[in-house]
C-alpha cells in the first residue's frame, strides 16, 4: 500500500498514463481511502491550467506593428 508521500511522488507518471496497471491500481486504492491525497490530486491536476491562464500574454499593438514592418522589409515578393 502506498503512503501519501509515495502517491504524491507518482502523480506526474499517473497523469501521464505511464504507470503499470498494477501501480495505477495501488495508487487509486490510496486515493480512494485518503481524502487529503484525493484533494491533492485534484489541486495538482488544476495547477497547470490555472498557471497557463495566469501567464497568458498578448502581443502589444506597437510590437505587432513593428513585427509586420520587420517581416515586410525582409520578405520580398516572388517575382
Amino acid at each position: 500500500m502506498y503512503t501519501c508521500k509515495d502517491s504524491i511522488n507518482l502523480l506526474l507518471e499517473y497523469l501521464d498514463g505511464e504507470m503499470t496497471p498494477e501501480e495505477a491500481r495501488h495508487l487509486k486504492e490510496h486515493f480512494a481511502g485518503c481524502r487529503p491525497c484525493e484533494e491533492f490530486l485534484s489541486t495538482y491536476r488544476a495547477t497547470s491550467g490555472m498557471c497557463k491562464r495566469a501567464l497568458a500574454q498578448r502581443i502589444p499593438q506597437e510590437v505587432s506593428a513593428k513585427l509586420t514592418e520587420f517581416l515586410r522589409s525582409k520578405i520580398k515578393p516572388a517575382s
Partner: protein
C-alpha cells in the same frame, strides 16, 4: 512501436512526425498559399500565432525587448524554411518550437543568479509518509470553469518567477506552451527523466503557492 523521427530544417530538432497539436483548417489553407509565395497568407499566419509566440518569449526571457526580437526572429526563420515544412506538425506547434529554441539560446547567453533548488516548496510529510498539512479546500474542483482572481494571477506570476531557471523553463515549455518531453529534451539537452523530475517539482511548488493564496489570513 515509436514513430520514426525526422529532423526539422528550421529548428534543427529531431521530432516525431505526429503533431501534439491539431492544426486548424484555416492554418492548413493559409500555409499552402504561403508556400506558393503568397505573402498575405503568411502574414495571416503571423497574425494568428503572434500572441502565443510573443507570450512564450516574454515568459521565458522576462524581457519585452528580447520577446519582441525573438518574435521577429521566429517568424523570419519560419518564413525562410516554409518550403521545407511539410505539415507533419501543426504550423502553430512548429513556430512554437522555433520560438522556444530562440528563447533558450538567448537565456544561455545571460545566465542570472538562480534560486536554489532547496528553495522549492512542496508538501510536507510526517515521518510515516502521510501529508502533514491537509489541503483546506479543494480549489481544483471546476477550476477551468471559474474566472481567475486577478490577485491569484499575480501570485502565480511571482511564484513562477521564483522557480529556479531550469525548473521554470521546463514548466513553461511543457505546461504553458505545450511542447512534448522529447521536444524539450532536444531543445535543452537534458534527459527526459530529469525534465520530468523538474516539472513535477515545479508543479508542486506552484500548487503550494496557489494553496497559500486560498489559505485564510
Amino acid at each position: 512501436m515509436k514513430p520514426a523521427l525526422t529532423r526539422d530544417a528550421a529548428t534543427g530538432w529531431v521530432r516525431p512526425p505526429m503533431s501534439d497539436q491539431v492544426d486548424t483548417g484555416d492554418d492548413r489553407r493559409l500555409l499552402a498559399r504561403a508556400q506558393d509565395g503568397e505573402i498575405a497568407a503568411f502574414e495571416a499566419l503571423v497574425e494568428a500565432h503572434q500572441d502565443k509566440v510573443y507570450g512564450l518569449a516574454l515568459r521565458m526571457t522576462r524581457s519585452e525587448a528580447d520577446a519582441a526580437e525573438i518574435t521577429q526572429d521566429t517568424f523570419l526563420s519560419a518564413y525562410q524554411h516554409l518550403k521545407d515544412f511539410r505539415g507533419e506538425a501543426a504550423f502553430g506547434s512548429w513556430v512554437h518550437r522555433i520560438a522556444a529554441n530562440h528563447a533558450l539560446m538567448r537565456l544561455r547567453h545571460r545566465r542570472v543568479a538562480q534560486a536554489a533548488e532547496s528553495e522549492l516548496q512542496g508538501p510536507e510529510f510526517t515521518e510515516r509518509g502521510t501529508l502533514a498539512d491537509y489541503p483546506l479546500s479543494d480549489w481544483g474542483q471546476n477550476a477551468e470553469e471559474k474566472a481567475l482572481d486577478a490577485e491569484l494571477g499575480v501570485a502565480i506570476q511571482q511564484a513562477t518567477d521564483r522557480l529556479p531557471e531550469g525548473y521554470r523553463e521546463v514548466f513553461l515549455l511543457k505546461d504553458v506552451d505545450g511542447l512534448s518531453y522529447e521536444q524539450i529534451s532536444e531543445a535543452t539537452g537534458d534527459s527526459i527523466p530529469a525534465i520530468k523530475s523538474r516539472l513535477h517539482r515545479a508543479r508542486l511548488a506552484l500548487r503550494e503557492a496557489i494553496e497559500q493564496f486560498y489559505q485564510p489570513g
